[in-house]
């Protein structure tokens, strides 16, 4: 058997000496690093990192030795002491040292007890994994408590916190983020993620798709507050950007992100502003951000030869205009979190006036693309639009009174 030959040729005494040399060398390096840190308040990385690796190598050579494991734990704690300037590294070294210390005790126990301990650890580990799996609502209370009060630090530390609900409950549309960058000199440009042309490597492309997806954590659908609705309709009066046709429920036309996604939007806007400023050498005056839902084509549309990248397949939800430092310019922007229509209609002018032209294929009037995103992107971000004095909250406003777009029966658009 291979095992016997290996034991014969391992050069056990040589390995034995090397193991202790590495262990004590590692300990000395870690101790010296700690002293260095105390004296100079900076981590002595050229000593500390080899010290930790040497300690690990010693454990790898004699993983069954309680003495080696125990001294490795001591060496690790010296490293922990020396890593005070790097809190996350200190955490990692502390955890590894604790594991070595625990293992030093376990290897001294009888084999049966060792197996019981390993069995308990396995069970605890997989209960933790199951608590993460069931952490997606609807969550059983027991698992919720287990995750929150017991497993959260372990699962987060090990990055085992995934629920594995791939494409559940069902596959959704693609999410993109479009940035409209405005420069001080008045010039503008679009920057979109993900973009296959800019990121041809699949890995890079997927990473950006994940970034876009992180802006898609939304608050629950709820009736839109009257004040917000009023502002939006007043903005329509001012700018000629009506609501999306009633083929899409009104409450679905404004989707506010949750606090996490709002933070991500700030970060991403800031990143794009800095990136574009570096790239162009210009000063960025603002970045308008749109979370864009790329709707799936139906099989019928594909059968008819319709191109799924036609612009009306994209539903852009305005996320606000941000400063170059990632601050939202106007939290009362009337379009904030609203869907900006990109549609196909036979009469774009009538649509912008709030009427919904009925599509009748027999008439032979072709459908035209009406891209109000381009119109909206050009709008300055300023104060809330003037609200006409005859507007009565809760009642149809002037815009609505002449706006057949709120009549679901009038839905006649291609999409």
């Amino acid at each position: 058997m291979g095992r016997v030959e290996f034991e014969n040729v391992d050069g056990r005494s040589r390995r034995f000496r090397l193991c202790w040399f590495l262990l004590f060398g590692g300990m000395a390096a870690n101790l010296a690093s700690g002293v260095w840190f105390k004296a100079f308040a900076t981590p002595a990385l050229p000593l500390l990192l080899p010290g930790l690796v040497a300690t690990g190598a010693a454990v790898a050579m004699r993983p069954g030795s309680a003495a080696v494991l125990g001294l490795a734990a001591v060496s690790g704690f010296l490293g922990w002491w020396a890593f005070q300037a790097w809190d996350s590294a200190q955490l990692m070294v502390g955890v590894l040292s604790a594991v070595a210390g625990f293992a030093a005790v376990v290897v001294l126990l009888p084999r049966a007890i060792q197996r019981v301990i390993v069995s308990v650890m396995i069970v605890l580990h997989f209960v933790g994994i199951l608590s993460a799996v069931s952490s997606v609502p609807p969550t059983p209370a027991l698992m919720n408590w287990a995750w929150t009060y017991l497993y959260r630090p372990y699962l987060q530390f090990m990055y085992l916190n995934n629920a594995y609900h791939f494409y559940s409950p069902e596959p959704g549309p693609g999410i993109l983020v479009w940035f409209y960058v405005r420069y001080d000199d008045g010039s503008t440009e679009w920057y979109k993620i993900p973009d296959r042309a800019e990121n041809p490597l699949a890995q890079e492309y997927q990473r950006r798709l994940s970034l876009a997806e992180s802006t898609n954590q939304l608050l629950q659908i709820a009736p839109i507050p009257e004040e917000i609705r009023r502002r939006r309709l007043a903005a329509f009066e001012r700018d000629g950007i009506p609501l999306y046709p009633p083929t899409l429920d009104l409450n679905m036309q404004r989707r506010e992100p949750n606090p996490f996604s709002k933070e991500m939007l700030k970060n991403y806007a800031r990143y794009v502003a800095h990136f574009k400023a570096r790239q162009t050498g210009k000063t960025v005056s603002g970045v308008k951000v749109y979370r864009v839902v790329h709707n799936l084509p139906t099989p019928k549309e594909i059968a008819e030869g319709i191109d799924p990248t036609e612009k009306n397949f994209y539903y852009p939800y305005f996320q606000g205009e941000f400063t170059a430092d990632g601050q939202l310019k106007d939290k009362d922007d009337p379009y904030l979190y609203w869907l900006i229509p990109i549609i196909k209609t036979t009469d774009p002018k009538a649509f912008r006036e709030g009427k919904l032209p009925v599509y009748q294929p027999d008439e032979g009037r072709p459908l035209q693309l009406l891209d109000l995103l381009e119109v909206h992107a050009e709008l300055p971000t300023e104060s809330t639009p003037h609200v006409p004095p005859n507007f009565v909250p809760g009642e149809p406003g002037p815009a609505q009174r002449k706006n057949t777009l709120l009549d679901p029966a009038a839905a006649s658009l291609h999409r």
């Binding site: 997989f126 929150t148 009060y149």
Partner: protein, 387 residues
């Protein structure tokens, strides 16, 4: 006289369960399959992190997509509120001073309701932000991953690879996807088991040392039939196997909440998703068009694909343990993940899942295949073939 417990009694059942548990976890196992998993996983890990070279500053720099300031706040200050353990739901508590109000404005929770702050995360990129030093760190981690893949000093570099993976994962959590989730699981278990005991440079060097020793001592040349069996190899394999079962079961059962999976149209949601699928390629669009122009065919493909996914994912955890059905399930896994790779563009994710599924391939089969390959490539010195 001591009574022998009846096998059908509760005590007998308990004893049998304990024996079965002991056999399942603590029978020494062959590390050959771990070696193969290490090579496959290492290649994907290496590719994924090489690809990061384009994006080092973009994702991990101080002013990355997710800025250092933001991730530091997240890991140090984000408050965690526990779910109530009584019947009363959590209710908002009004602020009693400006500090509390500022806290509520920032985190939407009263400070007295917070049970913990921050997250215990590790990444060297929280601390190293100078571009030159970041390149040094990145290069070092890539070298470690290469050593892990070829199996050199595997015991040490497997731990370092795991630490390295966490550096990237924990620094840029919003750029991750399923592949990263699976990757860290595989590396974690490879770190626990002796993944360098077979199909590795470590093994090769050990065999060379043994041969040299035998020659020097005038002993008969040693025969290397297979790497030594160990309990830790078996534990690592079992951990991989159980984890892959949990992944499939969770994925399959959660799909049952979605009407599209029941109605059999869910697969269209993946095949016709422009961002994932190869729709930019004309040939693929022609294929979709052809499918869509033939309703019967479309329904067959979509319903078949949706139900195949459900049956496979839910059934895997139960059927793969059956010796007769094991290979059927493995072939089904290959079909599913090939489909995911082609139709959804998730090539690295599929490769990682297939690597994970390798845990169910018997080591003897792997040794047999490698033995035949070695025979063809004429390497007479070390026989890694049949036991």
């Amino acid at each position: 006289m001591s009574a022998i417990p009846n096998e059908n009694s509760l005590t007998g059942l308990g004893n049998r369960m304990i024996r079965a548990w002991d056999r399942f976890w603590f029978t020494p196992g062959d590390p050959t399959i771990l070696g193969l998993i290490r090579i496959c996983c290492g290649l994907v890990v290496l590719y994924v992190h090489l690809a990061y070279s384009y994006d080092l500053q973009t994702f991990f720099g101080k002013d990355a997509w997710l800025s250092l300031e933001q991730i530091n706040e997240s890991r140090k200050h984000v408050p965690w509120v526990g779910p109530p353990t009584g019947w009363e739901p959590l209710s908002p508590i009004p602020a009693s001073n400006p500090q509390e109000q500022a806290f509520i404005d920032r985190w939407t929770v009263h400070p007295s309701q917070v049970m913990a702050y921050g997250q215990p995360l590790w990444s060297i990129y929280y601390h190293v932000t100078d571009p030159t030093w970041m390149w040094v760190v990145h290069g070092t981690i890539l070298t470690i991953m290469l050593l892990f893949t070829i199996g050199f000093c595997t015991r040490v570099v497997s731990v370092l690879t795991w630490l390295g993976l966490l550096c990237y994962i924990q620094r840029a959590p919003t750029s991750l996807f399923g592949m990263d989730t699976i990757m860290i699981v595989v590396v974690l278990y490879l770190m626990i088991g002796p993944s360098g005991a077979a199909l590795s440079v470590d093994r090769l060097l050990a065999c060379r040392r043994a041969t040299r020793y035998a020659l020097r001592e005038h002993l008969p040349p040693p025969e290397f039939l297979h790497p030594p069996f160990s309990i830790s190899a078996n534990v690592a394999l079992r951990l991989l196997q159980i984890h892959v079962c949990i992944i499939y079961a969770a994925s399959g059962l959660s799909k049952l909440q979605g009407p599209a999976w029941w109605s059999g149209v869910a697969v269209w949601g993946t095949m016709a998703n422009y961002e994932f699928s190869p729709m930019p390629y004309r040939i693929y669009m022609e294929f979709l068009r052809f499918l869509s122009q033939h309703r019967w065919l479309w329904e067959l493909v979509m319903t078949g694909g949706s139900y195949f996914t459900l049956v496979f994912e839910i059934g895997f955890a139960f059927l793969v343990w059956n010796r007769r059905l094991c290979w059927t399930m493995l072939v089904a896994a290959v079909l599913l993940h090939t489909g995911i790779a082609i139709f959804m563009g998730l090539v690295t994710f599929s490769l990682m899942m297939l690597t994970l599924v390798l845990a169910f391939v018997p080591s003897a089969t792997v040794r047999d295949v490698f033995g035949r390959l070695r025979g063809r490539m004429a390497g007479p010195q070390l026989r890694l073939g049949k036991a």
